[in-house]
Symmetry: C2
Subunit: 213 residues, 2 copies
DNA sequence: TAGATTGTTAATCGATTAACAATC
DNA sequence: TAGATTGTTAATCGATTAACAATC
């Protein structure tokens, strides 16, 4: 129904639409979305046409309907129970990240091996020891895990999560984690990668501009 | 020389190669890299062939040479001075992120508007007020900025950064920031987007497996 | 009706991949 | 030499985009 390329843009449309809605708009045109996201307007219409006829010719798209439809497609229009494994600097930051809650992701548990952290609070949650992982995941029907442990620990923790039935892992540890078996989907996020892409883009835009540097 | 698709994979190769090197390997084959990154081996060879003949037929690629070449291409084989604007939870986490230093990015300054934060230490740095931004950027030859301020403040801070000559901004604020003029390159990182992609991947892999849910 | 914008087609463009000769 | 793996071609596949009829 949707190509991979389209799927990867749906979250971007969603964010932009929510921004427009908050700013008071109720309708939007393909050209507006395209400009704001640096895309082509044909591309936007083609992406959105996968939902069936949603727009009105001559008028545009109803923002509210678009948001609901995209959310339905992306997240099944339901909330997901998420746990955080590894409450270091990054883990703490991620737990406070507004965007997650907004998009239907509920942080229901936080885990760390460090005995000094266990028992402390993280927002409204109490940090639990890693031993509790298995019981908690089963009793709370947790499906997704955010992994922010040190690189060295990441593969073994990922394996443990898979064994107990976690279906998706968002890995922030600076190491590529591949699924031990294939019952779990792992998305690796590398923050340094983004900075490298930025540096490359800056270098090439300078070259284009004719600077010698 | 390199397609966009190839460029976006170079940082992934780099990370994988550094991991292999740390594990004691000195050579690697296209098939090995492909498997570890979920790519096709032809694709890996094609990507790497842009550097000229680097591999040895029948043997593979020298890891050390590959790393150096990729680093050269991506970052100009030099270090970049980076500042952090917005020292909240996320900013603090980013400042401690190992991956940045490893890839040649040096955090040279940290800024926040909050008077209670100004003067405090962040690692080896002292947090400065936003007023110091312009002077600091010019005297320290800062080129890149990591933006982790609240969404509402992001566009105006981005504009300020552009005016004073910053050439690249990595934006973590949960809002799409587009360059006011075109003298700056902005890369928007949305952490919730990754979680949404994961959720979608989980949903579709379930459907494929025939679960009704 | 006149103006605007969608939905969709067809053409173009670019990226992936299988295959294999070259060669270490 | 025999085995392995690169570098590169050619074919395939998929994604983007211009264009325009449909229609609000």
């Amino acid at each position: 129904m949707f190509s991979d390329a389209t799927i990867s843009r749906l979250p971007l449309y969603l964010r932009e639409l929510q921004q427009l809605q908050r700013a008071g708009s109720s309708r939007v045109q393909s050209g507006v979305l395209a400009r704001r996201l640096g895309l082509n307007d044909s591309q936007v219409r083609r992406d959105l046409s996968g939902f069936g006829p949603l727009g009105q010719r001559g008028v545009g798209y109803e923002i509210r309907a678009l948001i609901e439809t995209i959310q339905n497609t992306l997240g099944g229009n339901r909330s997901w129970n998420v746990i955080l494994v590894g409450v270091g600097n990054l883990g703490t930051a991620l737990s406070g990240y507004r965007g997650f809650e907004q998009q239907g992701f509920r942080l229901v548990g936080a885990f760390d091996t460090d005995p000094r952290k266990v028992g402390k609070r993280l927002g409204t949650l109490e940090i639990q020891p890693l031993d509790h992982l298995e019981d908690f995941i089963q009793s709370e029907e947790v499906e997704l895990a955010i992994l922010s442990v040190p690189a060295a620990a990441a593969p073994s923790v990922a394996q443990r999560l898979e064994l107990v039935g976690i279906t998706g892992i968002l890995n922030f540890a600076p190491i590529t984690v591949t699924p031990p078996q294939s019952s779990v989907t792992i998305v690796n996020v590398d923050l340094a990668v983004e900075l490298q892409r930025l540096a490359y883009a800056v270098l090439t835009s300078k070259k284009e501009a004719g600077e010698t540097d």
